[in-house]
Symmetry: C2
Subunit: 238 residues, 2 copies
DNA sequence: CGGGTGCTTGACTCGCGTCAACCAGGGTGG
DNA sequence: CCACCCTGGTTGACGCGAGTCAAGCACCCG
């Protein structure tokens, strides 16, 4: 049986070797810090179970959320450059990770070119993901950002075998706002708007994307700003 | 004499080996495309001379600028994940690059652990840089973004032995706007504001940061929004 | 000289941040 | 068990920053 920590593309032989270098598993409780900005790096964390958020301190006390990670994804790569972590990782719920010392990974690399390539792919994907975020932070409106975000979450759940339509938001509205570069109130309003328009159904943190096409169109900027602005629609009705 | 393509931390022996794998140098003229989004990747480009911008197509025709690269920096890493380039690189002026086939780099890795580490450091730095951009796209005002941008450019020039105070903006206002997630007009206005406040001197694309401390304070968010808003100050004077 | 490109400046609009009140659920302690 | 508070979320009113539209300017090139 394959460890969820590791790539599918490796041989059984490779796998055995790798199991050794997974020094240990570690449980992380909700709100606990996996590593903190400025900590010495050198360990990669494969998430076995649970969800994390990673955040970065703004120079003026503020905090910005740079990403959400779920089971099957990798954490800790931000320390490769300087040796120090550039962000803080916090568990959104009780979670479990595999600790993989980078040094041991390097030792194994020569004998396992497949591993190296896979590792680079994960790094490359991370760079791509961040570029995608930069795009919506750079030039999308609040509703487009939120739609993109919800669709992205759904896709990632789908990749892991869950539903892309219906899932639980593991993070607070405030976290979402931080990630999307918006405010908590704005998120709340946009969610309400989506609900009124019938794009989504929402109960607390449980969400169902009832009209993914509409969300896709919105995210892609096809909608003429506000399809029929439901706010003004309400005003007219009144 | 050391090649500007490659890390300083390598032995002379390593260097000789590496010179072989730099398949060829390539000249790229102004406005020419080094690689295009969707192109097959697999080659890394070390910039020997000149400046580049990299941009990504928004799903709806729009374009977002994801970075500026100068001599001594690396391009093409965004293809590591999927094998295809996720962005387009365009020369801002006549430039020259070293083409480094990724496959050859992989071959050499086992014999040169230093090279691998260095390579990972560049990847890690790229991830960090993008996170920094996400921060200012996410929660800084236009003036703060611009101040950060100018200071960052200066620092990068300083690292390469040029002045951090006085340099040439190689890109158009429109490019800057694209990168900072703002509009061309907004950049122009903010530059004018900086100039009126005496933070900078500006002549066409030549810029001098005459008061870096003020810019730093602004970027850090220490300024109470607008110190004494020079616009209204002008209005009072009139 | 004309025309084009890159930049500046102004007037107006509007999306989103800010401030603030209010509401719902959940945990605690009397 | 109910009263209480406290946290997380919703909703409203208002103002500001930045986008948009548009006119005008400086420079370069043919």
């Amino acid at each position: 049986m394959r460890s969820p920590c590791l790539p599918d593309s490796l041989s059984a032989d490779d796998l055995a070797r790798i199991e050794q270098l997974v020094a240990r598993r570690r449980r992380v409780l909700r709100e606990d810090v996996l590593y903190r900005m400025g900590d010495r790096g050198g360990t990669l964390y494969a998430i076995r179970l649970g969800h994390f958020k990673s955040l970065q301190a703004d120079r003026r006390g503020g905090q910005h959320l740079t990403g959400f990670q779920m089971a099957g994804e990798l954490l800790g790569m931000d320390a490769l450059g300087t040796g120090l972590h550039g962000s803080t990782a916090v568990a959104l719920e009780d979670s479990e990770v595999c600790e993989i010392p980078y040094a041991r990974l390097l030792e194994l690399m020569p004998r396992m070119p497949g591993l190296l390539a896979h590792f680079h792919q994960m790094l490359g994907r991370e760079i791509l993901r961040e570029q995608a975020v930069m795009i919506f932070l750079g030039n999308m409106r609040a509703d487009q950002r939120l739609a993109s975000f919800l669709l992205d979450l759904g896709e990632r759940y789908a990749m892991r075998g869950y539903s892309a339509r219906s899932f639980l938001l593991r993070m607070s509205r405030d976290d979402i706002a931080g990630y999307l570069g918006l405010t908590l109130e704005c998120i709340s309003r946009q969610l309400a708007r989506f609900r009124r328009n019938g794009w989504i159904r929402l109960d607390k943190r449980a969400i169902e994307l009832t009209d993914r096409d509409a969300l896709l169109a919105l995210a892609a900027g096809l909608q003429p700003a506000l399809p029929i602005d439901s706010d003004s629609a309400r005003a007219h009705a009144a």
